[in-house]
Amino acid sequence: MNTTIMLFLLQDGITNGAIYALLGLALVLVFAVTRVILIPQGEFVTYGALSYAMLATGQVPGTARLAVAMGLVAFALDLFFARKALHARLVIRSVALNIVFPVALLGLVYALVGPHTPIAVNIALALLIVAAIGLFLYRIAFQPIAHTSVLVLLIASVGCHLALQGLGLVFFGAEGLRGPALSSAAVTAGPLRFTGQSLAVYGLTVGFIVALWLFFGYTKTGKALRATAVNRLGARLVGIRTTLSGQIAFLLASVIGAISGILIVPITTLYYDTGFLIGLKGFIAAIIGGLVSYPLTAVAAIVVGIVEAFSSFYASNFKEVIVFTLILPVLVLRSLAAPQVEEEKD
């Protein structure tokens, strides 16, 4: 084969792989802290990307209103669960987080939106919106069942994915959208041309990997989050606020998802349901990383991206088949390497 084609495919694979790596990292993060296998990660991607794209055309995305609605539900849940011991401080905090924050955000969006709003402002708004949605999603769907089995959490996660994907269609329509590029700079190296966009993808991915690795390995909060994952009760007994850990994890995951979305929406057209498939590929990487290792997940994601690029060139019809079958031998190896431990389920 031709070296130039191979280089192009490699470049393409690495760019996609970097995005999958970001998503894989978020999945590992959420699973490690909350034991939730975050299927709606793909929706964070589309919400981030399409909200940004709509803001760029001067429209107010429906996601901003969704954040307000979810905040209201979260507030109601807070009140309901604390009904036996309503303290003023608790209520004020809940109002501030669940009502004031999303309403203020919606107000901000209406105030700033326009065809000439700077790109940076649009990005910030899109990120804030998705962050709020991620935060409330944990409060509403997962916090009440945080103690249940991985299976129940997984099914709830699928339920969230369905609801959010359906809402995505309502907000963004069935037509695909593209967003403006972050920068028009480009570097040429031999036959390859690196756009500012793809360089941003690489840079952010590496940055996140290092940051997460440092955060979980070397900071007290990071270690507290990991402790929550291993044993919720034990973590609570030593004074870790487990609900806060879950919220932090979801907040980080939704922001990472939204960033990935904003990074790719200038490169490819995204539809309301594209996120699911992109998320699943991040998933494959996360699984190869055993849902625990960040560096391994990143490497696996690059491999997934490259395999995808090459198979779409040689056997484009069977691209998805190849990518998804790739996972099976890995899963078997993983299971054999970590012999089954007695698990008390339910």
Binding site: A141, I145, A156, F318, S335, L336, Q340, E342
Partner: protein
């Protein structure tokens, strides 16, 4: 017959429905869809709810069933009825191939693996030329009997619901049998089941294939109902939906699958037809509401609707008490010549840098009660696990009746007449005491899955249950025989474990802390039982911390400390042994 009565009434009601005058034809279509979904859900009940193997990929097996008949009938002109065995066979073979990989996956890798191959197969269906790619295959002939063609929804209705009822019956028969108990034990981990001879990988593969064949049957019916097959209904979304159905209805219950199918199919229909009126023409609104409802349901009733309904019933279904007069033949014993029943020679177990058992040697003779004592972490339970094959020894030899056990798996060790209880009780909490104890007799029965489904196992089954009931009586728990094992006190659960171990008809009984959690009187009764067993010819090796209990009961005591044997002798000698006193009380004492 009284247990079959609700089923017969249900069958009659279903048979009459199409004849009710004025029933909208559309309702029949809905019932057809419910039946098709119920078939798949029933397989999932067995696989996920009962067996604990979560699969998101069942829709792919429907695809195998549907595409097999689609290709055979349209391209090769094979008669639809002849394609039924082919469809089931193809789904079954696909299940064997995928199952060999899938059932090896542990923990959360399993559901993720099923999502992966579910999606992979969906893309395969939609890309293969001979399956018609995304358009699929149309023009599939209808089912027909003679000149009568099942063209309309109300004719194929009978084919679908006969399949549902038969499958329900066979599935319930299977669950209420020797094989069924083995399957039901899977969800609580494999160590306990394997200790009584259950081949857990085979049992897992069996349920996997069973669920796939039911899905294949549903796919075959679907193809002849729609008269077409395309990839969409066999994708990941559908696979997820089938799992929902099972969870909504109650994943542990056969009828939960049917009820779940009814709830979900009707709900989707209602949402699809009424939501656009409320919210004005938006499509896909039903998925939103559907997703939200699912999350709400999990928060309010994580067990599903069926068990909730059952708990509202004014009357409780009665259970038949087994007839204890039926005799179960004794296990065939190797002609034992050696008076040494268990001989351990320099057994050694290393976990990384930790030496848990350090060259320990001791014997257990016939008709003897030997106690293994030592401070916490001395390696007592590890020694048990080495003897029973749960752990592979790093070194040394273990002989049972002069025959060397070369790191044999637990299923083989139990065949030698060595049975055990566990330090942390390993019963299936949602099975009755009787059913739990009957697992102990697993190797003394021989009926397989197919015989159980067809109820050809009844004499065999009656013997096993009779034996279980006898052992429960022997340990003094006859009053609790029909209670769920999870509802007993911890002390009683330990006694249930002893009854289960006795069902093996063992020569050597290994008891791991049997007296923990028992009251004084109960301990005395337990001691009396163990003495009676010894006098009847059995040997007992027990780990126990209650020194009064041990000193009173044991003929001989072996003391371990930090994995090393420090003393062996009669209770009186052990009490005076300075090393033992040092190990328990420290050097200064």
């Amino acid at each position: 017959m009284t247990q079959r009565l609700p089923l017969i009434i249900f069958a009659l009601v279903m048979a009459v429905i199409p004849f009710v005058p004025g029933i909208p034809p559309f309702w029949i279509v809905l019932l057809d869809n419910i039946g098709l979904a119920a078939l798949v859900a029933m397989g999932l009940v067995l696989l996920t709810g009962v067996g604990g193997l979560t699969s998101f990929g069942q829709a792919a097996f429907c695809g195998f069933g549907a595409y097999t008949t689609a290709v055979l009938t349209t391209a090769y002109g094979v008669s639809p009825w002849l394609t039924l065995p082919a469809s089931l066979l193809v789904s079954g073979i696909a299940a064997v191939l995928l199952g060999l990989v899938t059932v090896r996956l542990s923990g959360h890798y399993l559901p993720l693996g099923t999502i992966a191959w579910g999606i992979g197969l969906f893309y395969l269906f939609s890309k293969l030329e001979f399956l018609g790619r995304n358009d699929g295959i149309s023009g599939i002939p209808p089912l027909s009997i003679g000149a009568f063609k099942m063209l309309s929804p109300d004719t194929i209705y009978y084919a679908i619901w006969v399949a549902v009822l038969l499958s329900a019956l066979l599935t319930m028969n299977l669950l209420d049998s020797r094989t069924g108990r083995a399957i039901r034990a899977l969800r609580r981990g494999h160590v306990a089941a394997e200790a009584f001879g259950v081949q857990t990988p085979r049992a897992k593969l069996l349920v996997f294939i069973y669920a796939a064949v039911l899905a294949g049957l549903s796919g075959w019916l679907y193809a002849h109902f729609q008269r077409a097959a395309n990839p969409t209904p066999f994708g990941a979304q559908a696979g997820i939906e089938y799992l929902f159905i099972a969870v909504v209805g109650g994943a542990g219950y056969v009828w939960g699958g049917v009820l779940g199918a009814a709830i979900v199919v009707i709900l989707k229909e209602v949402l699809q037809s009424y939501l656009p009126y409320i919210f004005g023409g938006q499509s896909q609104l039903e998925t939103i509401v559907f997703g939200i409802m699912l999350v709400m349901l999990l928060q309010l009733a994580p067990q599903g609707v069926w068990p909730w309904l059952m708990s509202k019933l004014p009357f409780k279904p009665t259970r038949k008490t087994p007839d204890t007069s039926v005799k179960l033949e004794h296990r065939e014993r190797a002609p034992g010549t050696s008076p040494v029943l268990l001989h351990i020679e320099k057994a050694r177990k290393q976990f990384g840098g930790v030496l848990a058992v350090n060259d320990v040697s001791f014997d257990v003779n016939a008709r003897e009660i030997v106690a293994l004592i030592g401070p916490n972490g001395a390696g007592k339970s590890t020694t048990f696990n080495l003897i029973t094959g749960v752990l592979a020894a790093t070194g040394g030899k273990i002989f049972v009746q002069g025959k060397e056990v070369e790191n044999a798996p637990p299923q083989e060790v139990v065949k030698l007449g060595v049975s055990r209880t566990f330090q942390h009780v390993k019963l299936v909490p949602d099975m009755t005491v009787l059913e739990n104890v009957a697992i102990g007799a697993h190797l003394r029965g021989n009926s397989g899955a197919i015989a159980s489904m067809l109820r050809l196992d009844r004499t065999d089954e009656a013997k096993l249950l009779a034996e279980a009931a006898r052992q429960i009586e022997r340990v003094g728990l006859s009053d609790q025989i029909d209670q769920l094992a999870g509802s007993l006190s911890l002390g009683q659960q330990r006694i249930v474990e002893i009854a289960r171990a006795l069902c093996v008809d063992p020569m050597l009984l290994l008891l791991d802390e049997p007296a923990a959690g028992l009251r004084h009187m109960e301990k005395q009764r337990l001691a009396a039982l163990l003495r009676q067993l010894r006098d009847g010819g059995m040997s007992v090796l027990l780990v126990e911390h209650d020194m009064g209990f041990v000193m009173d009961l044991a003929d001989r005591i072996v003391v371990l400390d930090f994995g090393t044997k420090i003393a062996e002798g009669t209770p009186a000698a052990i009490k005076r042994n300075p090393d033992v006193i040092k190990a328990y009380l420290g050097a200064a004492a």
